[in-house]
Symmetry: C2
Subunit: 151 residues, 2 copies
DNA sequence: GGCGGAACCGTTATATTATAACATAACATT
DNA sequence: AATGTTATGTTATAATATAACGGTTCCGCC
Protein backbone atom coordinates (compact mmCIF):
# COMPACT_ATOMS: atom_id res chain seq x y z
CA UNK A 1 0.00 0.00 0.00
CA UNK A 2 1.44 3.28 1.11
CA UNK A 3 5.20 3.62 0.90
CA UNK A 4 5.65 3.32 4.64
CA UNK A 5 9.18 2.16 5.32
CA UNK A 6 10.47 2.72 8.85
CA UNK A 7 14.22 2.36 8.35
CA UNK A 8 15.95 3.97 11.34
CA UNK A 9 15.25 2.05 14.56
CA UNK A 10 14.92 -1.55 13.44
CA UNK A 11 17.85 -3.89 13.88
CA UNK A 12 18.85 -5.82 10.79
CA UNK A 13 17.89 -9.40 10.13
CA UNK A 14 14.83 -8.97 12.24
CA UNK A 15 11.28 -9.01 11.06
CA UNK A 16 8.94 -6.17 11.72
CA UNK A 17 7.38 -7.61 14.87
CA UNK A 18 10.72 -8.65 16.26
CA UNK A 19 12.10 -5.19 15.61
CA UNK A 20 9.16 -3.51 17.29
CA UNK A 21 9.52 -5.64 20.40
CA UNK A 22 13.28 -5.21 20.60
CA UNK A 23 13.09 -1.47 20.10
CA UNK A 24 10.50 -1.17 22.80
CA UNK A 25 12.52 -3.15 25.30
CA UNK A 26 15.64 -1.16 24.51
CA UNK A 27 13.82 2.12 24.88
CA UNK A 28 12.17 1.19 28.12
CA UNK A 29 15.30 -0.35 29.58
CA UNK A 30 13.52 -2.25 32.25
CA UNK A 31 11.75 -5.60 32.30
CA UNK A 32 8.31 -5.81 30.76
CA UNK A 33 5.81 -8.63 30.79
CA UNK A 34 4.56 -9.97 27.49
CA UNK A 35 1.16 -8.38 27.96
CA UNK A 36 2.69 -5.03 28.84
CA UNK A 37 4.63 -5.24 25.61
CA UNK A 38 1.47 -6.10 23.75
CA UNK A 39 -0.39 -3.14 25.20
CA UNK A 40 2.34 -0.75 24.16
CA UNK A 41 2.47 -2.12 20.65
CA UNK A 42 -1.24 -2.13 19.93
CA UNK A 43 -0.79 1.24 18.30
CA UNK A 44 1.64 -0.42 15.89
CA UNK A 45 -0.91 -3.02 14.97
CA UNK A 46 -0.11 -5.92 17.27
CA UNK A 47 -3.20 -7.58 18.61
CA UNK A 48 -2.57 -10.99 20.06
CA UNK A 49 -0.24 -12.47 22.69
CA UNK A 50 1.10 -15.04 20.28
CA UNK A 51 2.60 -12.32 18.13
CA UNK A 52 4.56 -10.98 21.05
CA UNK A 53 5.61 -14.37 22.33
CA UNK A 54 6.83 -15.42 18.93
CA UNK A 55 8.96 -12.33 18.59
CA UNK A 56 10.31 -12.79 22.10
CA UNK A 57 11.19 -16.42 21.45
CA UNK A 58 13.22 -15.46 18.45
CA UNK A 59 14.92 -12.52 20.13
CA UNK A 60 15.79 -14.67 23.12
CA UNK A 61 17.23 -17.34 20.85
CA UNK A 62 19.42 -14.66 19.29
CA UNK A 63 20.49 -13.47 22.72
CA UNK A 64 19.10 -10.00 22.12
CA UNK A 65 16.63 -10.22 24.95
CA UNK A 66 16.66 -12.26 28.13
CA UNK A 67 13.78 -13.77 29.93
CA UNK A 68 13.66 -13.14 33.66
CA UNK A 69 12.20 -16.31 35.08
CA UNK A 70 11.62 -14.93 38.53
CA UNK A 71 9.44 -12.16 37.16
CA UNK A 72 7.94 -13.63 34.04
CA UNK A 73 9.29 -10.65 32.21
CA UNK A 74 11.68 -9.81 29.41
CA UNK A 75 14.50 -7.32 29.12
CA UNK A 76 16.81 -6.22 26.33
CA UNK A 77 20.36 -7.44 26.65
CA UNK A 78 22.63 -4.63 27.75
CA UNK A 79 25.92 -6.31 27.12
CA UNK A 80 27.18 -6.75 23.62
CA UNK A 81 27.28 -10.20 22.18
CA UNK A 82 28.32 -12.50 24.95
CA UNK A 83 28.81 -16.23 25.11
CA UNK A 84 25.64 -18.00 26.08
CA UNK A 85 24.58 -17.36 29.63
CA UNK A 86 27.69 -15.80 31.04
CA UNK A 87 25.59 -13.27 32.76
CA UNK A 88 24.08 -12.62 36.16
CA UNK A 89 20.97 -10.58 36.72
CA UNK A 90 20.29 -8.56 39.81
CA UNK A 91 16.69 -7.48 40.26
CA UNK A 92 15.49 -4.78 42.60
CA UNK A 93 12.50 -5.79 44.70
CA UNK A 94 11.50 -2.21 45.22
CA UNK A 95 11.77 -0.38 41.92
CA UNK A 96 11.80 -3.35 39.58
CA UNK A 97 15.04 -2.42 37.88
CA UNK A 98 17.12 -5.17 36.34
CA UNK A 99 20.84 -5.02 35.85
CA UNK A 100 22.99 -7.45 33.95
CA UNK A 101 26.47 -8.14 35.30
CA UNK A 102 29.40 -10.10 33.97
CA UNK A 103 29.35 -13.36 35.84
CA UNK A 104 33.06 -13.52 36.55
CA UNK A 105 33.28 -17.22 35.74
CA UNK A 106 30.66 -18.39 38.17
CA UNK A 107 28.36 -19.92 35.62
CA UNK A 108 31.23 -22.00 34.27
CA UNK A 109 32.30 -22.99 37.76
CA UNK A 110 28.77 -24.02 38.58
CA UNK A 111 28.59 -26.08 35.43
CA UNK A 112 31.77 -27.86 36.50
CA UNK A 113 30.29 -28.47 39.92
CA UNK A 114 27.19 -29.97 38.35
CA UNK A 115 29.30 -32.09 36.05
CA UNK A 116 31.07 -33.59 39.04
CA UNK A 117 27.63 -34.71 40.16
CA UNK A 118 27.13 -36.37 36.78
CA UNK A 119 24.98 -33.65 35.31
CA UNK A 120 25.59 -32.08 31.92
CA UNK A 121 24.67 -28.40 31.95
CA UNK A 122 23.13 -26.96 28.82
CA UNK A 123 21.87 -23.63 30.07
CA UNK A 124 20.63 -21.54 32.90
CA UNK A 125 20.83 -18.01 34.03
CA UNK A 126 21.41 -16.66 37.49
CA UNK A 127 18.93 -14.20 38.94
CA UNK A 128 19.46 -12.57 42.30
CA UNK A 129 16.90 -10.43 44.04
CA UNK A 130 17.47 -7.62 46.51
CA UNK A 131 17.82 -3.86 46.49
CA UNK A 132 19.59 -1.70 43.97
CA UNK A 133 21.95 0.98 45.24
CA UNK A 134 19.38 3.73 45.20
CA UNK A 135 16.61 1.76 46.86
CA UNK A 136 19.03 0.27 49.38
CA UNK A 137 20.11 3.73 50.49
CA UNK A 138 16.55 4.95 50.74
CA UNK A 139 15.48 1.96 52.77
CA UNK A 140 18.47 2.28 55.10
CA UNK A 141 18.47 6.02 55.76
CA UNK A 142 14.90 7.14 55.61
CA UNK A 143 13.09 4.56 57.67
CA UNK A 144 12.03 0.95 57.62
CA UNK A 145 9.01 1.59 55.48
CA UNK A 146 7.96 1.24 51.91
CA UNK A 147 7.76 4.02 49.40
CA UNK A 148 8.10 4.30 45.72
CA UNK A 149 11.36 5.69 44.50
CA UNK A 150 10.89 9.39 44.05
CA UNK A 151 11.41 11.30 40.76
CA UNK B 1 7.71 -53.05 56.20
CA UNK B 2 4.59 -51.41 57.36
CA UNK B 3 4.67 -51.80 61.13
CA UNK B 4 4.13 -48.57 63.00
CA UNK B 5 6.93 -46.27 62.00
CA UNK B 6 5.92 -43.00 60.44
CA UNK B 7 8.97 -41.04 61.48
CA UNK B 8 9.99 -39.38 58.25
CA UNK B 9 6.71 -37.83 57.12
CA UNK B 10 4.85 -35.14 58.98
CA UNK B 11 6.92 -32.36 60.39
CA UNK B 12 5.68 -30.81 63.57
CA UNK B 13 4.18 -27.38 63.65
CA UNK B 14 2.51 -27.94 60.32
CA UNK B 15 -1.18 -27.80 59.71
CA UNK B 16 -3.07 -30.53 57.99
CA UNK B 17 -2.92 -29.04 54.50
CA UNK B 18 0.73 -28.16 54.84
CA UNK B 19 1.49 -31.69 55.98
CA UNK B 20 -0.40 -33.20 53.08
CA UNK B 21 1.46 -31.11 50.55
CA UNK B 22 4.86 -31.72 52.11
CA UNK B 23 4.27 -35.45 52.37
CA UNK B 24 3.23 -35.63 48.78
CA UNK B 25 6.27 -33.75 47.55
CA UNK B 26 8.57 -35.89 49.67
CA UNK B 27 6.97 -39.07 48.44
CA UNK B 28 7.06 -38.09 44.81
CA UNK B 29 10.58 -36.73 45.01
CA UNK B 30 10.34 -34.74 41.85
CA UNK B 31 8.94 -31.32 41.05
CA UNK B 32 5.20 -30.92 40.82
CA UNK B 33 3.15 -27.98 39.69
CA UNK B 34 0.56 -26.54 42.04
CA UNK B 35 -2.29 -27.97 40.02
CA UNK B 36 -0.69 -31.40 39.88
CA UNK B 37 -0.45 -31.25 43.65
CA UNK B 38 -4.07 -30.24 43.84
CA UNK B 39 -5.17 -33.12 41.63
CA UNK B 40 -3.36 -35.64 43.75
CA UNK B 41 -4.81 -34.28 46.96
CA UNK B 42 -8.41 -34.08 45.88
CA UNK B 43 -8.93 -37.48 47.46
CA UNK B 44 -7.83 -35.94 50.74
CA UNK B 45 -10.41 -33.22 50.43
CA UNK B 46 -8.50 -30.36 48.84
CA UNK B 47 -10.53 -28.56 46.24
CA UNK B 48 -9.14 -25.16 45.32
CA UNK B 49 -5.79 -23.81 44.12
CA UNK B 50 -5.63 -21.30 46.93
CA UNK B 51 -5.42 -24.09 49.47
CA UNK B 52 -2.38 -25.52 47.76
CA UNK B 53 -0.72 -22.18 47.20
CA UNK B 54 -1.19 -21.21 50.82
CA UNK B 55 0.42 -24.39 52.02
CA UNK B 56 3.26 -23.98 49.56
CA UNK B 57 3.88 -20.40 50.62
CA UNK B 58 4.24 -21.45 54.19
CA UNK B 59 6.41 -24.47 53.42
CA UNK B 60 8.66 -22.38 51.22
CA UNK B 61 9.00 -19.78 53.96
CA UNK B 62 10.09 -22.56 56.30
CA UNK B 63 12.59 -23.81 53.74
CA UNK B 64 10.93 -27.20 53.54
CA UNK B 65 10.06 -26.87 49.89
CA UNK B 66 11.66 -24.87 47.13
CA UNK B 67 10.04 -23.23 44.21
CA UNK B 68 11.62 -23.87 40.83
CA UNK B 69 11.14 -20.66 38.93
CA UNK B 70 12.15 -22.06 35.59
CA UNK B 71 9.45 -24.69 35.77
CA UNK B 72 6.75 -23.11 37.87
CA UNK B 73 6.97 -26.14 40.08
CA UNK B 74 7.74 -27.08 43.65
CA UNK B 75 9.98 -29.70 45.16
CA UNK B 76 10.66 -30.91 48.69
CA UNK B 77 14.01 -29.86 50.08
CA UNK B 78 16.36 -32.82 50.11
CA UNK B 79 19.08 -31.30 52.20
CA UNK B 80 18.57 -30.87 55.90
CA UNK B 81 18.19 -27.41 57.27
CA UNK B 82 20.49 -25.20 55.32
CA UNK B 83 21.23 -21.51 55.43
CA UNK B 84 18.99 -19.58 53.14
CA UNK B 85 19.63 -20.27 49.48
CA UNK B 86 22.97 -21.97 49.67
CA UNK B 87 21.77 -24.41 47.13
CA UNK B 88 21.96 -25.02 43.40
CA UNK B 89 19.35 -26.91 41.45
CA UNK B 90 20.09 -28.92 38.37
CA UNK B 91 17.06 -29.81 36.30
CA UNK B 92 16.94 -32.47 33.62
CA UNK B 93 15.31 -31.32 30.39
CA UNK B 94 14.47 -34.86 29.42
CA UNK B 95 13.10 -36.66 32.45
CA UNK B 96 12.22 -33.66 34.57
CA UNK B 97 14.26 -34.75 37.57
CA UNK B 98 15.52 -32.10 39.94
CA UNK B 99 18.57 -32.43 42.08
CA UNK B 100 19.71 -30.08 44.80
CA UNK B 101 23.44 -29.59 45.21
CA UNK B 102 25.53 -27.80 47.78
CA UNK B 103 26.52 -24.56 46.15
CA UNK B 104 30.13 -24.59 47.26
CA UNK B 105 30.15 -20.93 48.13
CA UNK B 106 29.02 -19.65 44.78
CA UNK B 107 25.88 -17.96 46.00
CA UNK B 108 27.90 -16.02 48.55
CA UNK B 109 30.52 -15.13 45.96
CA UNK B 110 27.83 -13.93 43.61
CA UNK B 111 26.31 -11.83 46.35
CA UNK B 112 29.71 -10.24 46.88
CA UNK B 113 30.03 -9.60 43.17
CA UNK B 114 26.64 -7.92 43.14
CA UNK B 115 27.53 -5.89 46.18
CA UNK B 116 30.57 -4.52 44.37
CA UNK B 117 28.12 -3.24 41.80
CA UNK B 118 26.20 -1.50 44.57
CA UNK B 119 23.47 -4.08 44.86
CA UNK B 120 22.34 -5.63 48.10
CA UNK B 121 21.35 -9.24 47.61
CA UNK B 122 18.44 -10.56 49.63
CA UNK B 123 17.76 -13.84 47.93
CA UNK B 124 17.85 -15.91 44.82
CA UNK B 125 18.36 -19.45 43.85
CA UNK B 126 20.42 -20.87 41.04
CA UNK B 127 18.77 -23.21 38.57
CA UNK B 128 20.70 -24.91 35.81
CA UNK B 129 19.14 -26.95 33.07
CA UNK B 130 20.65 -29.81 31.11
CA UNK B 131 20.74 -33.58 31.23
CA UNK B 132 21.01 -35.80 34.27
CA UNK B 133 23.54 -38.64 34.20
CA UNK B 134 21.08 -41.22 33.02
CA UNK B 135 19.53 -39.14 30.27
CA UNK B 136 22.92 -37.82 29.18
CA UNK B 137 24.19 -41.36 28.67
CA UNK B 138 21.09 -42.38 26.77
CA UNK B 139 21.28 -39.38 24.51
CA UNK B 140 24.99 -39.91 23.84
CA UNK B 141 25.09 -43.66 23.26
CA UNK B 142 21.81 -44.61 21.68
CA UNK B 143 21.38 -41.97 19.02
CA UNK B 144 20.64 -38.31 18.62
CA UNK B 145 16.93 -38.78 19.09
CA UNK B 146 14.34 -38.31 21.74
CA UNK B 147 12.83 -41.02 23.85
CA UNK B 148 11.30 -41.20 27.21
CA UNK B 149 13.38 -42.79 29.91
CA UNK B 150 12.44 -46.45 30.04
CA UNK B 151 10.04 -48.02 32.57
C1' DG C 1 -17.36 -18.22 80.51
C1' DG C 2 -17.24 -14.86 77.41
C1' DC C 3 -14.37 -11.73 74.48
C1' DG C 4 -10.73 -10.47 71.18
C1' DG C 5 -7.33 -11.73 68.01
C1' DA C 6 -4.68 -14.66 65.03
C1' DA C 7 -4.16 -18.18 61.96
C1' DC C 8 -6.22 -21.34 59.06
C1' DC C 9 -9.83 -22.88 56.32
C1' DG C 10 -13.01 -23.44 52.33
C1' DT C 11 -15.04 -21.24 48.46
C1' DT C 12 -15.98 -18.44 44.43
C1' DA C 13 -14.37 -15.61 41.16
C1' DT C 14 -10.89 -13.56 38.52
C1' DA C 15 -6.26 -12.12 37.05
C1' DT C 16 -2.08 -13.18 34.74
C1' DT C 17 0.92 -15.70 31.85
C1' DA C 18 1.52 -18.80 27.93
C1' DT C 19 0.32 -22.03 23.95
C1' DA C 20 -2.39 -24.62 20.52
C1' DA C 21 -4.24 -24.67 16.27
C1' DC C 22 -5.22 -23.07 11.81
C1' DA C 23 -5.45 -20.45 7.66
C1' DT C 24 -3.09 -16.80 5.11
C1' DA C 25 0.69 -13.86 3.27
C1' DA C 26 5.46 -12.92 1.80
C1' DC C 27 9.41 -14.32 -0.28
C1' DA C 28 13.19 -16.94 -2.15
C1' DT C 29 14.53 -20.92 -4.93
C1' DT C 30 13.77 -23.77 -8.39
C1' DA D 1 4.37 -20.97 -11.97
C1' DA D 2 5.12 -24.63 -8.39
C1' DT D 3 7.33 -25.15 -4.15
C1' DG D 4 9.26 -24.88 0.54
C1' DT D 5 10.07 -22.06 4.23
C1' DT D 6 9.14 -18.58 7.41
C1' DA D 7 6.44 -15.15 9.48
C1' DT D 8 1.91 -13.48 10.16
C1' DG D 9 -2.88 -12.65 12.03
C1' DT D 10 -6.53 -14.63 14.60
C1' DT D 11 -9.40 -17.25 17.73
C1' DA D 12 -9.64 -20.04 21.43
C1' DT D 13 -7.94 -22.17 25.43
C1' DA D 14 -4.56 -23.92 28.70
C1' DA D 15 -1.81 -23.32 32.76
C1' DT D 16 -0.45 -20.69 36.59
C1' DA D 17 -1.57 -17.57 40.40
C1' DT D 18 -4.12 -14.33 43.43
C1' DA D 19 -8.11 -11.54 45.41
C1' DA D 20 -11.69 -11.37 48.30
C1' DC D 21 -15.10 -13.11 51.46
C1' DG D 22 -16.92 -15.28 55.51
C1' DG D 23 -16.51 -18.99 58.75
C1' DT D 24 -14.06 -21.87 62.08
C1' DT D 25 -10.91 -23.07 65.58
C1' DC D 26 -7.82 -22.28 68.98
C1' DC D 27 -5.55 -19.63 72.54
C1' DG D 28 -4.82 -16.21 75.96
C1' DC D 29 -6.92 -13.39 78.89
C1' DC D 30 -9.74 -10.56 81.89
Amino acid sequence: MAGSEPPPPLSPALTRNQGLVLDLLRTVGEPLGAYAILDRLRSQGLRAPAQVYRALDRLAALGLVHRLETRNAFVACTRGAHPPQVTVFVLCDRCGAARELADDGHTAALAALARRAGFQVLGGRIELRGLCGRCGRMAASESPDDEDPGP
